[in-house]
């Protein structure tokens, strides 16, 4: 295969991948339910109903009180103070993430008025590089604060919501997959992995709403 054909084949493959992901997206967006298949069995997650959301909110409040009562859990603010004593300044890291945004926007404005393809490519590369650096720093702060009460509550809420809305198709009916949250937590299946991935498509993150 000569070079041109290789390039064409690569482009065709890329286009195909894009069509596939767009088609998949069309499927995800058509409804507030998402069906998926694991080992020939069909599962779905759906947006929780109003009553279910109220129930989730009650459970979340109880979990919040539990975390508050546990002395090994700290709020984000306390973690930041603890890290500062160890020489890690999270506030400074977050300021740097914001500063990156300012730098990115300055390059974006230059890109907006760029016409020459060479300039366009150079500016795009510059933006990608700044975005990578911003993302790495942002991930670092997220990791450092992973054990904060706010973050733990967010993880818990997402897990509990997934437990509430995860169903399996049996004949024409949809049955709840797990009877209890402890069964759900004890299970380590690919179904849960997939459901976790999709839940953020349905429900907006509850961060900061835990109080």
């Amino acid at each position: 295969m000569d070079n041109q054909k290789k390039v064409l084949a690569k482009e065709a493959l890329q286009a195909l991948a894009e069509i596939e992901s767009t088609t998949n997206m069309e499927n995800l967006v058509k409804d507030n339910k998402i069906e998926f298949v694991v080992a020939d069995k069909t599962y779905r997650i759906r947006k929780p109903s109003f009553v279910e959301r109220q129930n989730i909110d009650t459970i979340r409040r109880k979990e919040y009180l539990r975390l508050m009562a546990d002395e090994s859990y700290f709020f984000r603010k306390t973690w930041i103070e603890k890290y500062l004593k160890k020489g890690i300044d999270i506030n400074a890291m977050e300021s740097k993430v914001k500063a990156f945004q300012g730098e990115i926007e300055a390059v974006l404005l230059r890109l907006a008025v760029a016409v020459e393809p060479k300039d366009v490519e150079l500016l795009k590369k510059e933006i990608y590089s700044l975005r990578d650096a911003q993302f790495s720093l942002s991930m670092e702060t997220t990791d450092l604060l992973a054990h904060s009460i706010e973050n733990q509550l967010l993880v818990f809420t997402n897990s509990y919501t997934t437990f509430v809305v995860l169903e399996q198709k049996v004949g024409e009916d949809w049955n709840k997959l797990f009877e209890s949250y402890s069964d759900f937590m004890a299970s380590d299946s690919k179904v849960i992995e997939q459901a976790f991935m999709y839940i953020n498509y349905l429900v907006y993150n509850h961060i900061g709403e835990g109080k």
């Binding site: 894009e18 992901s21 767009t22 997206m25 967006v29 058509k30 409804d31 404005l109």
Partner: protein, 115 residues
């Protein structure tokens, strides 16, 4: 960088045509559910209206906007920021004037009904 499939879908001719018809003809539905939209559906609606505004700008031959820009997500982001900054700058000196102008004519005047 990998393209955002939701954005690609909203940008497509088919999606834009459907969106236009949904807005014009009430009986056409965009989603199976009419209420209780998912996070993804809300994002999709945002992208649909965003690309609709870009295609409008394109038809108005707005500066620095081409089909090539619309097809490139990062260039779209750049154009949107440029448009926002530009609009803000255009509004600044005229702000006071437009308020004064509006007060002169065409504004609503509420009067107490005479007995």
């Amino acid at each position: 960088m990998r393209a955002n499939p939701l954005q690609s879908l909203a940008r497509s001719n088919v999606a834009q045509t459907v969106y236009r018809h949904v807005k014009e003809i009430g009986s056409i539905r965009l989603f199976n559910n009419d209420t209780d939209l998912s996070h993804l559906q809300i994002l999709y609606l945002y992208y649909l209206s965003l690309y609709e505004s870009l295609y409008t700008d394109l038809s108005m031959q707005e500066e620095y906007l081409t089909q090539e820009v619309i097809d490139d997500e990062i260039r779209v982001e750049a154009y949107l920021l440029y448009r926002k900054v530009n609009r803000k700058n255009k509004q600044k000196p005229n702000n006071k004037k437009s308020i004064i102008d509006n007060a002169g004519e065409g504004s609503l005047i509420f009067r107490r009904k005479s007995k």
